[in-house]
Symmetry: D2
Subunit: 203 residues, 4 copies
């Protein structure tokens, strides 16, 4: 799938607050996602935030996976006491960049991203990953924006679902699909999502 022998890094993004993080179905999917990443030897990356992405990290750790958090905070103190965020990851990068730039680093650190549930912050990450051509997997039936991504992209934004975006309500099957599209479609070379040197367009 990839020419180097480095482990695949999967970014897990989704609800960090709001009603979605209390939904037992979504939480179970998040835990299953984390466990499955660990079993496949993937590195699990998230925004070092609470909620569903942290459920995935905790589960990945329980199953022996390596986990990395990309924090908006500058320091462990700020991360814990001001952002009130969990810190159980194996490695935490304290970017000191706040939420919005953290989101960009978070996505670029990941070979592919998986979205589960999700509110405004997750929608921000979806638009970044979409515009930059990153492989995206959506865990459907997990609340928030998870069942409305095609409507947002096609219905509202008048853009197309790219061939390296996949959907499933089962985390295991979703990772299978994600692996398949990563084998099939070349990764973008440039931050505008180009895989070749065409002209830039953006909406």
């Amino acid at each position: 799938m990839k020419k180097h022998d480095r482990k695949l890094k999967i970014g897990v993004m989704g609800s960090a607050s709001g009603p979605q993080i209390q939904d037992p179905v979504a939480r179970e999917k998040a835990r299953k996602l984390g466990a499955e990443c660990a079993r496949r030897g993937y590195i699990l990356i998230n925004g070092a935030c609470p909620g569903l992405p942290n459920d995935a990290v905790v589960s990945a750790k329980e199953h022996g996976g390596l986990t990395i958090g990309i924090s908006p905070a500058f320091s462990e103190y700020e991360h814990t006491h001001e952002y009130l965020s969990p810190a159980g990851h194996d490695i935490i990068v304290f970017t000191g960049l706040g939420f919005m730039e953290r989101d960009i680093i978070n996505i670029r650190s990941s070979d592919a991203i998986v979205i589960i549930g999700g509110g405004i912050g997750t929608l921000n990450e979806l638009t970044i990953a979409y515009d930059e051509g990153r492989p995206i997997g959506i865990i459907t039936n997990s609340g928030g924006i998870s069942n409305s991504v095609p409507f947002v992209i096609e219905g509202l934004c008048k853009r197309k679902i790219p061939p390296n975006m996949v959907f499933d309500d089962d985390p295991k099957k979703l990772l299978d699909k994600l692996e398949a599209v990563m084998r099939e479609y070349p990764l973008p070379i440039h931050e505008d999502g180009r895989v070749r040197d065409n002209h830039l367009t953006r909406g």
Copy 2:
């Protein structure tokens, strides 16, 4: 409205490509918005992109307004030859940061933002401005996401429309509403949208 005597900076974001930029109704609204900003003595800021935001800049210039472009490119050459973007602004900041970080600077450079039409890139900017508590005006009936913002925020993301977000299909009336909410509601102090030092939450 503001304690200092600096001119108000209005960021204009919206469709830079796609079918929306051909819509004569949307283009006329964009031109009307630019002209009205100029008449009120506002500085008009945009992402130095083509499309509706550029229609607003051209019109603002025709009416004597000061315009600033925040370019994703590093240089004028790259801006013109690689990003194929217009450069008629009075001042252009060549950030060299690409689209995504440019979007953040673009919004933070603006005292308030106005959205017209809009696809994925505009949706990215909406989520940033929303999360950071920036005053937002939506020009409705301008295509793209313009009529669906409440549905996206409340229906999909399960968040609330903030009191400093206003809607109108007439640019002049929208600016009136935007001025009113800027007088009434304090600007956020921190990049998480806080106007006071409460705890952080985000979804």
Copy 3:
């Protein structure tokens, strides 16, 4: 000098704290620099910080110049109450990015930079402007690093003084020299300082 008809933007960087900001000779040079920028119709940009760069802004304003500040703060409140920084500019961009990223935006916003006095923060800005190939003018005999730039670049770093870096202890003559090298040498196209598409090297 430039193909477009936009006004030239001169970034003024230098001591914002420390003993250098009390030196009457350095302060007089800063004021003279600001006045001369205004007379030539340049836009004066600085980091919206106190000290010598602010002396230049105040003087430019007194002589009718347009001034822009690139603040590390997210908001006017944070700028004034936490960063304790002056806010007399015509336009202030509240980047919310902290000192280090602010420095990058500051430099990229400027067509050329002038350094006066300067401690660690200014040295950071010098290394950015040097690596990115920006035209640089050094006001010598203004304290801090101002007389040691060739030693730092050639003696310590084993790099060469680029042809678009000029030196003078008189702000007026320095701006003359800066204009000359901007006419003579092409601006870099890429953020690694390349004016053409050669291979990247960096130390």
Copy 4:
């Protein structure tokens, strides 16, 4: 030394080009540094660049250490073919941010940094780490800026050597000293280097 049980991350910065990367003494010190980091169980981070920092990574890998590269490139393709950079790390973060912002992320990702040799780019990283209060170890007698750091900070910039900056020409002894100051001095909480909430000052 740290309250959590995560492995210590040591950032290695230094000459990536220029005459310093051919110096056999400096290269041997870089290899010794990498090996010693691996033996102590540290995670070794660098800018995913060639030269001395890569010598350290290669050696750390040979001794079983975990290594992370923070690349200026957006993609593996760009990293290899445009930046002509090595990619032997266990994990590479493709920031897509170019050299300058990469430098900031690089430093913030590291609990402490070690500087070996070094030209303009390394001087940029030194000023960031200094201003942000990061623990810094300098490998003296390794060429470039390595023997002149006190002169740059005290002699030119008129600032003080902070208590958490240490010097040694032996990598092993330097890491001992670095561990000691990390135990003794609190880490900064904020990106201006504050360990408490004092007012901001900067030069």
